[in-house]
């Protein structure tokens, strides 16, 4: 026994319920991920459009040019789509894989912690971290636009659906990449493999779907591409003119036909639900390992 020890001391205190444990896990995951320099760098990059909008004057925009002002929000939403898989891989890759690798399950599950609460804590941590470069800056961009422009508040209220649509799109994106990366993280013991797996899925789905589409001229194959579906949904959500996309498609040698965004939404929601169920089943079975 150490010389400074005064013997074993008993402890009496209040213990909190399961919701508190989930929040504690979320808190821990956020703090732990934040200690990574790479996460910090990616979040700073994702926040660059917010910094730019602070510097660029938008006061001269007239009511007619209001869509141009809101273009900042739309372009931010579009650009973040590129960063999100990288962020998701970096943040989510190690969430479960590291616990498996460190054999932390025996530490967690020998405590009064339900498996569902563990999963909720991990998903919560992931969602909070992913909202930092998405939901929060979108809101800030919107507020900055209000603050810096001479437009009436009514215009902003009228256009607030754009912020809601951007948020909805981010939630969909976070759910999709979250379900994919958490499943991958639950089947590997090294987070690197989860990251590689996520990129492989994104790239391969795009490659195979486009090859099949080009070979058959059948638009339906495009639904196999994750990026196509996301672009399609984004265009629908933010009200981007689909004919420009169609034209660009034809210029790139495509047939120019467009698949309904709702079909893309069904595909993305389907993949997310399927992967979530798989992840849940996988994690519930981990107790026996």
């Amino acid at each position: 026994m150490s010389i400074e020890s005064l013997g074993y001391k008993e402890w009496e205190g209040q213990k909190h319920g399961r919701f508190y444990k989930v929040l504690s896990l979320v808190d821990y995951e956020v703090r732990h991920a934040w200690s990574s320099i790479w996460v910090k760098i990616l979040i700073i990059i994702a926040w660059l459009p917010v910094l730019i909008i602070f510097l660029v004057p938008v006061t001269e925009i007239s009511e007619e040019g209001v869509d141009r002002a809101f273009y900042n929000l739309v372009s931010f939403t579009t650009s973040i789509t590129i960063w999100l898989p990288i962020m998701a891989g970096l943040i989510g890759g190690g969430l479960i894989a590291n616990d498996k690798n460190n054999k932390m399950f025996s530490m967690y599950f020998s405590r009064p912690l339900r498996r569902e609460d563990y999963i909720a804590g991990k998903v919560g941590g992931f969602a909070v971290l992913m909202s930092i470069p998405t939901i929060v800056p979108a809101l800030i961009i919107y507020i900055v636009l209000i603050g810096k422009s001479d437009l009436s508040l009514l215009v902003f209220i009228k256009k607030s659906w754009l912020l809601g649509a951007a948020w909805l799109y981010f939630i969909l994106l976070i759910a999709l990449f979250g379900s994919l990366v958490l499943f991958l993280s639950s089947v590997v013991t090294d987070s690197k493999y989860a990251v590689v797996g996520l990129f492989t899925i994104v790239i391969l789905s795009d490659l195979i779907a486009n090859l099949l589409w080009l070979a058959s001229d059948n638009e339906i194959y495009r639904l196999g591409s994750l990026t196509f579906n996301l672009e399609n949904i984004l265009a629908e959500f933010l009200g981007i003119d689909q004919s420009t996309l169609q034209l660009a498609d034809q210029q790139n040698g495509g047939v120019g036909g467009l698949v309904s965004a709702w079909k893309s939404l069904v595909v993305i929601v389907g993949i997310t639900s399927f992967m979530s169920v798989l992840t849940l089943l996988r994690l519930l079975s981990l107790e026996e390992e």
Partner: protein
């Protein structure tokens, strides 16, 4: 829990993994207070027993209670009042010991302030006061064992299950760890269950033992009684055929067995056994080379119990 009720009570619990019977018909009762050694060779079913007691797996058959709570239905409540120190390393390497122990305290439902204060307290208690802000990945094996003990103590559990607590420790560290275990056991309301392969450690800190082999309970009781029972035996060395003499003993109703080059005669509480043994030997005209009491230790007890069980299993299989 009812005053003086057993802390652990199982009735014929079994756990099967497919065709493998990890635990068979285990009936055991462990009273409150003191330290119990859970012994057995590899594959004896110790780890599965721990999982059953923690309510992590449900028994295939049988009933069990820990701290008066049903192991089938009250797993969470049991784990709330039990501290578990696993055998293998399970650390988040890139955080310091305080953060690690505090994080696990919060998983027990402790508030941030309570978990932080208690993490400092238990880390001091296990002798890591000076190193508590060091990253765990820089710790030696012995220090890691201490961190594992600290995390098991953070919520001040009533029952502490320690799986191989001295593994990988140097002799000084081992003694320190055993002293810590003895010190915790001094708290009247605490019961410790210690799994260990190091029988000397068990002998040093435990007052009861549960010996398991091939998933079954083979012996349980107070360590003192079991070892003293062993001391009631007589050890003989003779010139000639020892097996012949054992046959003669058994014909006269005296239990005896061959142990290395000697005969172990189980005397029990019979005071006239020595006389009877001498008479049989005289009748058999065997020259006596040694007559005395065996030096009984937990190791003797463990080895004789396990080998007896295995022999019985072999005999059963051959029939």
């Amino acid at each position: 829990m009812v005053e003086n009720a057993p802390v652990i009570e199982t009735f014929r619990i079994s756990k099967n993994y497919g065709l493998v019977e990890a635990v068979k018909d285990l009936t055991v009762s462990i009273p409150q207070g003191g330290t119990v050694g859970l012994l057995g060779p590899n594959g004896a079913g110790k780890s599965t027993t721990i999982k059953l007691l923690l309510g992590l797996v449900n028994p295939s058959l049988g009933e069990g209670k820990v701290l008066g709570m049903d192991i089938r239905t009250k797993g969470l409540e049991i784990r709330d009042r039990v501290g578990y120190m696993p055998e293998h390393d399970c650390f988040i390497g890139d955080i310091d010991a305080v953060k690690y122990v505090m994080h696990l305290g919060r998983m027990n439902g402790m508030s941030v302030a309570d978990a932080l204060r208690r993490a400092h307290e238990v880390l001091y208690y296990v002798g890591l006061g000076e190193s508590r802000y060091r990253k765990i990945e820089t710790f030696s094996l012995g220090m890691k064992q201490r961190v594992k003990l600290a995390q098991a103590l953070i919520h001040d559990p009533e029952l502490l299950i320690l799986d191989e607590p001295t593994t990988g420790m140097d002799p000084d560290g081992r003694i320190d760890m055993l002293e810590l275990i003895k010190d915790i056991a001094k708290c009247e309301d605490k019961t410790l269950v210690m799994c260990s392969h190091i029988l000397a450690d068990v002998e040093r800190v435990c007052d009861r033992v549960v010996i398991m082999n091939r998933g079954k309970l083979v012996r349980t009781g107070s360590l003192k009684e079991l070892v003293e029972g062993k001391k009631e035996a007589i050890i003989l060395r003779v010139k000639g055929d020892s097996n012949l003499l054992i046959d003669k003993f058994e014909r006269e109703g005296i239990s005896a067995e061959l142990r290395d080059d000697a005969i172990l005669v189980f005397a029990g509480n019979n005071p006239s056994i020595k006389k009877k043994v001498m008479e049989i030997m005289a009748e058999a005209k065997m020259q006596l080379r040694y007559f005395g009491k065996p030096t009984a230790s937990l190791e003797d007890l463990f080895l004789s119990t396990i080998s007896y069980e295995e022999e019985a299993e072999r005999e059963k299989a051959s029939i």
